[in-house]
Symmetry: C2
Subunit: 207 residues, 2 copies
DNA sequence: TTTTCATCTATACAGTGCTCAGATAATCCA
DNA sequence: TGGATTATCTGAGCACTGTATAGATGAAAA
């Protein structure tokens, strides 16, 4: 077995520094947001010198890219937790709720995932993770061929909702509503009443 | 006339430093994006010492808040340049095009406007500017009473489109489309074909 | 055991936002 | 007019950041 973890005396070689730094960064994002993150603080939390992360990630962007990839993974899980029923419109509403719910539950992760200055978009895994997370939408929208326009529209809609609520814009429209209320009560009503993508008819067939 | 501009010999008192710094910051945003901005660089461009901006704006956030307010103003102008016709659905499509077009034409401004860590959301002018810019949407949606749900949905949709295109996500869906092509050709087609808010029927009346 | 290699430390550099004492110029006031 | 007040800006300094580099340390390979 490869489990040569020292764990007793602090080894010179950390042994699992890469994973420890990723987790430290993710924790910082959770507790203090993106602006609370610094490469040095992550190194501090991992109990390692300030130059150590460079060996594993090259730069701060390298580390944050890994965190963003994990973020897309967890978003994908949140979306695929919505099990499809025989009502595709209701499924889409649930997916929308899951998307916004994820953004509000993990604002640091979510914001990082869409910060092109902090993640390395040239990393081939980034595009893959990004599209993989949206598989839930694609299948719920149903049509396997074509359908890109609809996917874009639905994604735009839920992404816009998530960003606006996260940025506190919703409170200008729905006076003083707290984010917790929003995902628990306001948003479900909004989706049921005024969200065209979740309507009973489904995507209209333009033949 | 108050135009006591020295302009010849560099005065100790700049005379118009506040406006000069705002313009310098806006220029940096235009040329090098948000990550290219620094308070010191703005001071440098205004030909003034690094501590000077503090007197007028207090902090970097203070300066960027002014730039963001200008951004909302220019967004409002871009939206109100869309003159209403007798087809409210077509008007909404034009507004959507104007919104996304603004984001792509002024990415630095647009991104700043929605960066809560860089602008002072407690500034009372911020909420005013934010809602004022959306007057175009509100009137186009028509119903003066109620309607907040529809405004939120439309805003979310266009805001999501703007962000996704700006972040290069659209190219994963529409393979390799350039941003210029997007607002010129792809988006109008998308809006006409797959955007439910711009449909002929208008907001359905749920009585 | 000896060599090689990956890993991590220590230090240094350039850049940042912010603070504060003091210099400078414009303005107000008698 | 002349003196005092006020707004404006400078210059230096502090704490912090990301990154680069030389060297120390331990593990693994030969």
């Amino acid at each position: 077995m490869k489990n040569t973890r020292p764990a007793a005396k602090a080894a010179y070689h950390h042994g699992n520094l890469k994973a420890a730094l990723i987790e430290a960064a993710d924790t910082i994002l959770r507790d203090h947001g993106i602006e609370g993150f610094s490469l040095r603080e992550a190194a501090r939390r991992a109990g390692v010198s300030i130059g150590a992360p460079a060996h594993h990630f090259g730069s701060a962007t390298g580390l944050l890219t890994e965190v963003a990839l994990l973020g897309y993974e967890s978003l994908g899980q949140a979306l695929s937790a919505v099990r499809p029923t025989d009502d595709p419109g209701a499924d889409l509403q649930q997916l929308a709720l899951a998307y916004v719910g994820f953004a509000l539950a993990h604002p640091g992760r979510f914001r990082l995932m869409f910060r092109p200055d902090l993640v390395n978009r040239d990393d081939p895994r980034y595009g893959l993770a990004s599209t993989a997370a949206l598989t839930g939408f694609a299948t719920a929208i149903g049509r396997r061929k074509g359908g890109m326009a609809e996917i874009f529209m639905v994604w735009s809609s839920v992404h816009g909702m998530a960003n606006l609520v996260l940025d506190g814009k919703a409170k200008y429209l729905f006076d003083g509503a707290l984010p917790e209320d929003f995902v628990a009560h306001i948003l479900p009503d909004l989706l049921a009443e005024a969200w065209p993508f979740g309507a009973r008819s489904g995507p209209q067939d333009r033949s």
